[in-house]
């Protein structure tokens, strides 16, 4: 009788990992195809439309970068927290808070400060607002041990209701002509763009954040402490590492990064606080981080990949009248497939025949 079992490898296999990725993408593609068939669409046509929509023109390519910016920041946010086994699912809410902070400073503080200071203040406000939102969940976790997944999630809903209230109510543009939102932010608070595209300075912020994060993780003592805490909290305690303090500041950093995402959307794309800020970048950030295995460089690439799915999905809506939510389905399926493919790098299939 031939039997087989899964045996844990001593060292994760890199070849296995890349093979796994390839298999995952292929498998997710098939699952997406099934979903298309379910709604009566031809999968091949659908994928072609998506590809053409995402890579067809220079404009489309630039749009991928535009969408990738908040994904990079949210992905980094989730990734840095996940490194120490803290799950920040509140990227969405922290992003919104970042937008609120940025808009608030731009609308109410900008007239009173010298123009050269406005943009730095807006950036700082975005970061701090997001950090504060995450801090709330962080402090509950470190002092009381409340599960941060649930608190950050609940705060998402609170943030979204709050921002709605703000741009429908007290911050509403009196000359808005029925369209809910704040007034347009003063130009001095706008993030400069690459001419001809919508790519804004946020890209530099995102890339800088990725580079800094990678450097901190691999070369500094805080990065080392984070790696140990993430791998084995008991050993970290034995080594006398300040675990609760690390969790707290990592949460704040995480929230700040997501806040920056919100700030870049407000100051770089919409130029006002309005509907359409909370579109799921916070949640997609989780997928980005996990696909990249929490590696900052990989997060940049994964963000670009997922952004292309989003842009392609938009095209799907325009051309084939299919709901763009298919993007979310594909992302979820991809995540599952990657989780499954992880199996091949961590485990090895062993066959043997035993005498019956």
């Amino acid at each position: 009788m031939t039997r087989f079992r899964l045996e844990q490898r001593v060292e994760p296999s890199t070849a296995g990992r890349y093979a796994g990725y390839a298999v995952a993408v292929g498998l997710a593609g098939c699952m997406g195809g099934i979903v298309f068939l379910l709604v009566g669409a031809n999968p091949l046509t659908a994928y072609t439309v998506m590809a053409r929509g995402a890579f067809g023109s220079l404009h489309d390519l630039s749009e991928i970068v535009v969408k990738a910016i908040p994904l990079m920041l949210c992905g980094l946010a989730v990734g840095v927290a996940a490194k120490i086994q803290v799950w920040n699912v509140g990227g969405e809410g922290q992003l919104v808070l970042g937008g609120i902070g940025a808009a608030g400073v731009a609308l109410f503080l900008a007239p009173r400060v010298p123009p050269s200071l406005v943009l730095p203040l807006v950036v700082a406000a975005g970061f701090l607002a997001g950090a504060l939102w995450a801090f709330l969940a962080g402090i509950l976790r470190t002092t009381l041990g409340v599960n941060e997944i649930l608190t950050t999630l609940m705060l998402n809903y609170v943030a979204i209701y709050w921002v709605e209230h703000l741009y429908f109510g007290p911050w509403r543009d009196p000359m808005g002509m029925g369209f809910p939102g704040t007034a347009i932010l003063p130009e001095v608070a706008w993030l400069p763009r690459l001419p001809g595209t919508r790519i804004h300075l946020g890209l530099a912020l995102a890339l800088l954040a990725a580079v800094l994060l990678q450097a901190v993780l691999s070369r500094t003592r805080w990065g080392y402490e984070m790696r140990v805490i993430g791998e084995n909290e008991q050993a970290a305690r034995y080594a006398g590492m300040p675990i609760q303090r690390t969790i707290l500041w990592v949460m704040c950093l995480s929230g700040g990064l997501a806040g920056l995402a919100g700030m870049t959307e407000v100051s770089g794309i919409h130029y006002r606080l309005q509907q359409g800020l909370a579109v799921g970048y916070g949640y997609t950030g989780i997928i980005v981080a996990w696909l990249a295995r929490l590696h900052p460089g990989g997060i940049v690439l994964a963000a670009l990949f997922l952004a292309s799915l989003l842009v392609g999905g938009d095209q799907l809506q325009a051309v084939m009248h299919l709901p763009s939510a298919v993007g979310l389905v594909l992302e979820g399926a991809l995540l599952f497939c990657v989780l499954g493919s992880d199996l091949f790098s961590r485990y090895r299939l062993r066959w043997w025949t035993s005498r019956a």
Binding site: R221, V228, N232, R237, Y238
Partner: protein
């Protein structure tokens, strides 16, 4: 000898990188207590796990009353009447004794009548001399009591073969005697008992038959009458003349490095864990705290390490209060934790990172980690302490138990500590690795004072200058190892009789 109840023939079991059992034959008779003897790593537990259905053998067969049987899981083995009490308790801590005993029984089928089950538990515990309260939460029982619950579970299922893996490790001498009475009773009823141990005295006292394993093979199968003395058994176990006595030169004691004055502390739940601890450790001496696991040692060590605090009393490290001990003072303490894989090292990181674990402060310059220097240092330590590893980039989980302990020792000693706290440092190691650790610790006496916490009397007697016995969180007495009369008192002290 009557028809053997169970026969193992040619059992072979492999794990990645190690041949744990190599073609072992074993016959167990009815109504007998059969001892399975061997040092750590000989393959005793693996063999019994095969017999109890937890592992499946790569080759060989199990015969029950002459008929080959195959166990696909512990359930099959239990149905065949074979049950095992493992070294690490397999009980649900949050459940009561009754719930644990009821687990896995074939009857009653659907509805559980708790009162009925509790009565059964009481009846069994009376019959076999295993007193437990059916309502008690298992997590709050002592390890000795938990062991009784495990045995009751198996008796409830009417096992015909009872396997015990190192049962006396967690018992006081009185409890050990009580256990032996229970086992003899079980054997008299016609059941069989297999007793895994590495302690030679117990084997001579309780066994009707002895099988010795060494490096995965069966090297001897005899009755106690055949054995001349313990030395011969030891030789069979290890394969060479074992120096059961270690050479310990006296070192003149120096200044006090650690002093506790009337210290008390609580456990994580807030219950008192240890009280009125007073002792001092000097440079040049090995001060041992010996006691059965679970008597407050873990909490005391946590307070010394700084992860918990003392509720009262004063602790002085190098003459200064422990609470205000800064980085520099703590850096001069080498702490070897009991759980080397889960606490003392990080299995998923490489050896350089593992060496950095308690020494990374020395490799930081303005926040930046000097990884290259750390790597070179790790390489040096691996060589000097003869750690068998692929290099400083190998992962922690690739090291064997003995080598991992060598690495941890190397790391802690590289700090040039003035105080070394060693918690069960040779637990789970074979004789070679054990001697290694002992010699290294003794060598450190020139520079440091050593606080040894252990449950192993042999270890404590071999290494220590002074011995304190801990029981239920209090020190029953402090003895000098040189005094032969005092040594005889250790036994009763372990069970709670105070010195004097």
């Amino acid at each position: 000898m009557a028809e053997p109840a169970i026969c193992l023939r040619g059992i072979t079991k492999r794990f990645p990188g190690v041949l744990a059992n190599d073609g072992i034959d074993l016959s167990i008779g009815t109504g007998m207590i059969h001892a399975l003897l061997g040092e750590n790593g000989a393959g005793k537990t693996t063999l019994m796990n095969v017999l109890a259905g937890r592992y499946r053998p790569d080759a060989g067969e199990i015969l029950r009353a002459g008929v080959p049987v195959r166990f696909r899981s512990p359930r099959d083995a239990l149905r065949a009447g074979i049950g095992m009490v493992h070294q690490h308790v397999m009980l649900v801590a949050n459940h009561t004794v009754a719930e644990n005993v009821a687990l896995g029984l074939d009857a009653p089928r659907c509805l559980l009548r708790w009162r009925h089950i509790e009565d059964q538990v009481r009846r069994l515990s009376e019959t076999y001399g295993l007193p437990v309260d059916p309502h008690a939460r298992v997590g709050e029982l002592s390890l000795g009591q938990q062991q009784r619950v495990e045995i009751l579970k198996l008796l409830q299922r009417n096992v015909t073969l009872l396997i015990l893996d190192e049962p006396t490790a967690v018992l006081t001498p009185t409890e050990i005697a009580a256990l032996f009475v229970t086992l003899r009773r079980i054997a008299r009823e016609g059941r069989s008992v297999i007793f895994i141990t590495h302690k030679l005295d117990e084997v001579m006292e309780i066994a009707d038959r002895i099988t010795v394993l060494r490096r995965g093979r069966c090297v001897a199968d005899l009755v106690p009458a055949d054995v001349d003395n313990r030395r011969e058994l030891a030789r069979l176990m290890v394969g060479r003349e074992v120096l059961l006595d270690i050479h310990r030169e006296p070192v003149p004691p120096g200044e006090v490095v650690l002093e506790l004055r009337n210290c008390s502390g609580d456990d994580a739940r807030g219950h008192p864990a240890f009280r009125n601890m007073s002792f001092a450790v000097r440079r040049g001496e090995v001060f041992a705290i010996v006691g059965v696991a679970g008597n407050g040692q873990a909490q005391l060590l946590a307070a010394l390490a700084g992860s918990a605090s003392f509720s009262s009393g004063q602790a002085l490290l190098f003459g200064k209060p422990l609470e205000s001990a800064g980085c520099r003072a703590r850096d001069q303490v080498g702490y070897i934790p009991e759980d080397r894989a889960a606490v003392g090292s990080v299995s998923g990181l490489d050896l350089t990172d593992n060496v950095l674990l308690t020494t990374y402060h020395r490799f930081c310059r303005r926040g930046v980690l000097q990884r290259r220097a750390a790597r070179a240092r790790t390489q040096g330590l691996l060589a000097r302490f003869q750690v068998a590893a692929a290099g400083p980039d190998a992962l922690g989980r690739q090291l064997s138990g003995g080598n991992l302990q060598k690495l941890i020792l190397a790391r802690e000693l590289s700090k040039e500590p003035r105080l070394i706290i060693a918690d069960q440092p040779t637990h789970g190691l074979d004789i070679g690795a054990t001697m290694n650790v002992w010699n290294e610790l003794l060598r450190q006496r020139a520079r440091a004072g050593i606080l040894l916490v252990s449950g192993d009397l042999t270890e404590v007697l071999s290494l220590s200058d002074r011995i304190a016995v801990i029981f239920r969180g209090e020190l029953m007495g402090i003895l000098s190892a040189a005094d032969p009369e005092a040594i005889a008192e250790i036994g009763p002290m372990l069970a709670g009789v105070r010195q004097g």
